[in-house]
Amino acid sequence: MIQTDHLSRSYGDTLAVSELTLKVDRGEILGFLGPNGAGKSTTVKMLTGLLRPSSGSARVAGFDVLEHPLDVKRRIGYVPESGAMYESLSASEYLELVACLHHLEPRVARARAEEFFELFGLAEVRHQRLAEYSKGMKQKVLFAAALIHRPDVLFLDEPLNGLDANAALIVKDLLRKLAAQGRTIFFCSHILEVVERICTRIVIIDHGSQIATGSASAIIRATGTTTLEEAFSALTGVRDVGALTQDFLAALEQE
């Protein structure tokens, strides 16, 4: 469902993503990991049509992202890391806006929106402005907006940001069930325990390049560590966390 071939993107002289080649199958939940600035969000933005690749190619849901961007966008849902939304709208207006942009029948859109509001416990406040929502409530609305047109592929960039424990449970369960239905999920997160628990495969990138791929256990085994967290640290260059923090504290103490 997702396939990239030497996908690259640069900003001026800075190479954000370099020659990324990967494949994600139908029904798979891919955990896409990397340290800050590794190129995760840039990759997602290229796959969702927000950015144009500098070179290489990518196919999503069977369509080339450059040649058939609209066909791709009809089949994807996206929860951005920034969480940016027009906060002057109410939650129900926001979902209506997104549904209109997906050319959904108003009646269908309304019915689906109501289901989401029930699921996430937002029914009572659905006519309040998003500006009045907490971060977690906004995240629920973004999640609903990503699903309202029943996409084949979901791109989730830090989707659990701000969610309370109950909502996070619902989202994780939902993701498993969506994957079981055959939908593909591209899951970017820094919460490694969640990634380890729900993702069927993991790709780790650093400085724009892919440095590891496989199941969580395979990556742990290959790095000779005992947890995904340690494996991640080992792969992305932080060798001795204890020494680093000690140096930092010492610097803070200096006059």
Binding site: L51, L70, A84, S88, P106, R129
Partner: protein, 544 residues
């Protein structure tokens, strides 16, 4: 007293003030984004400053002409300084009000150890920087004219410089003080509503002042402006600053000394007021404003937007309505322009009775084109404003969905047509029905005006295309747009519409043919515009 002691005395942390003021100006200049033509919307500080300045230099050229037209220095100075003060007030009103009333920055630095007064002083410095830039551009040519027009008179030139800078600063500080006073005295939960009413009232005052000035310079002058005789002019604060020039040419009458002194007292008082009272708890009030809710209100989805039922048109209509209701910056911008319509309507009707162009074909040439100006100007100014928003990062939704971007752009135009142009024309049509001999004449005439208005909007979208609320707000962007739009609007309302009217109304056949031609033209333009927008937007990427 050392420099630092003065700052301390004022209650301002100099280092923090400098850091904040510098950061604000840097941020303004670095505000970037990509417009539909794929250009970065900011071309560096120098280019931005030049772009802003050019429009004001052109305005200054018109003001410099007054130096030559007026029979005495004081009269020309009163007019020029008045114009400069009105222009500054207009800038604050339309563009820079957010510097004072927006709580956005407070969300970022509210938790930092910055005193309220320092914060307010930094915002004031940010505003005065732009006002200084504006005063320099407006004053450049008039100052040169004063210095060199009647022999080399450096003292007069310097007096003009002082008058322009100090009057501009006074005008800006007066406006800022009013906004800051509102923030101080109005409860945060009611501030949004009160600010809206005040903005509307201020717009009437500023445009009214402008209209009065135009009245004075216009019909009475015939290229020669007679000296001001009435002592009532000394009630206008602009004349106090203009007194510097009278003194500069050696006219040392006591009334000029008194006026000059009054100007300084005014400026110092306003500055003291701003610093002593208005900065007290300013940032805390902004914080309360940003945290306050006007009482959570249920928004009735779909109410009033029944014309736009689905897809991009519906999405854009929802967004524009919500932004007007909730986005203070957008709301105040709209409310600052709205009174223009009323003024044009008023002046249009003052030109004389509305003659039926079917009966008096030459009536359209008699000057009531001001009526058309209103219907054309407002949407043309507003459409570029609709492309900008502080929430521009939320426009990712237009890029990650299969929405047609040309349809989004065109939907903004359609919204303006349906919710502004048509209601306004219905209103004007009702007025016309009292003067015209037949209702059919009113309908045909209004149809012609509506179609020409729509074509003008299409041209405007072609010139300044933008996705709704998808570009960062840029300071100084308005003057250029105002000028460009004014040229389009003036050409259409002063030339095209009267000439069309002169030709089409004598016979019913011509009227029908013109209507058919205009319908065809607007349909054709829509198609061309859509193709053009498709080309422009095909390679676009999200710049948030």
């Amino acid at each position: 007293m050392t420099g630092r002691a003065v700052w301390d005395r004022l209650g301002i942390d100099r280092d923090q003030w400098w850091a904040l003021a510098r950061a604000a100006i840097k941020l303004d200049f670095r505000t970037s984004g990509i417009d539909l033509r794929g250009r970065r919307s900011s071309g560096g500080p120098v280019r931005t400053a030049l772009r802003v300045s050019l429009v004001y230099v052109l305005t200054g050229a018109m003001l410099a002409a007054i130096v030559f037209a007026a029979r005495d220095v004081f009269t020309s100075a009163v007019l020029i300084v008045s114009a400069a003060m009105v222009l500054v007030a207009l800038s604050v009103l339309v563009e820079y009000h957010a510097v004072v009333v927006s709580p956005d920055d407070h969300l970022v630095i509210g938790a930092l150890p910055v005193s309220s007064r320092t914060y307010f002083a930094a915002r004031l410095a940010n505003l005065l920087f732009y006002i200084g830039l504006q005063a320099t551009a407006i004053g450049l040519l008039p100052v040169l004219a004063y210095t060199f027009a009647a022999g080399f008179r450096p003292r007069l030139g310097l007096a003009a410089v002082a008058a322009l800078y100090l009057s501009s600063a006074t005008s800006a500080i007066a406006m800022v003080s009013l906004y800051a006073a509102l923030i101080r005295f109005v409860h945060p939960t009611r501030l949004r509503r009160v600010l809206s009413y005040v903005q509307l009232a201020l717009s009437f005052v500023v445009y009214g002042g402008w209209a009065l000035l135009a009245q004075f310079v216009g019909p009475r002058s015939r290229w020669i402006i007679e000296p001001i005789g009435s002592p009532w002019w000394f009630l206008d604060p602009a004349s106090w600053f203009a007194s510097y020039l009278a003194l500069g040419v050696g006219n040392l009458a006591p009334r000029y000394w008194l006026s000059a002194a009054a100007s300084l007292v005014l400026l110092v008082s306003l500055a003291a007021l701003a610093l002593r009272y208005l900065s007290f708890g300013y940032s805390e009030r902004l914080g309360a404003f940003s945290a306050s809710r006007e009482r959570p209100r249920a928004v009735r989805t779909g109410e009033g937007l029944r014309i736009f039922r689905r897809n991009e048109a519906r999405a854009v209509a929802l967004l524009i309505r919500a932004q007007f209701r909730q986005d203070l910056r957008f709301r105040l911008s709209v409310l600052s322009i709205l009174p223009l319509t009323v003024f044009y309507l008023f002046y249009g009707l003052r030109e004389g009775p509305l003659l039926d162009p079917f009966v008096h074909p030459d009536s359209a040439l008699q000057g009531w084109f001001l009526l058309y100006m209103a219907v054309l100007a407002f949407p043309l100014i507003l459409i570029p404003q609709m492309a900008q928003s502080d929430a521009y990062r939320a426009s990712w939704v237009f890029y990650a969905t299969p929405a047609s971007r040309p349809a989004l752009v065109l939907s903004m135009k359609d919204f303006m047509t349906v919710y502004f142009v048509l209601p306004y024309l219905v209103f004007v049509g009702l007025i016309m029905s009292f003067f015209f001999e037949s209702l059919l004449h009113v309908i045909v005439h209004m149809a012609v005006v509506a179609l020409v208005g729509h074509i003008t909007l299409q041209v405007a979208v072609r010139l300044l295309p933008g996705l709704p609320f998808s570009e960062p707000v840029r300071k100084g962007g308005q003057p250029g747009r105002f000028l460009a739009m004014w040229l389009v609007v003036s050409a259409v309302s002063a030339v095209i519409l009267p000439v069309l009217s002169f030709w089409i109304y004598p016979s019913l056949a011509r009227s029908a043919a013109t209507l058919a031609g205009l319908v065809l033209a607007t349909l054709l333009l829509e198609r061309v515009l859509r193709m053009r927008l498709e080309r422009l937007t095909s390679g676009m990427e999200f710049a948030g």
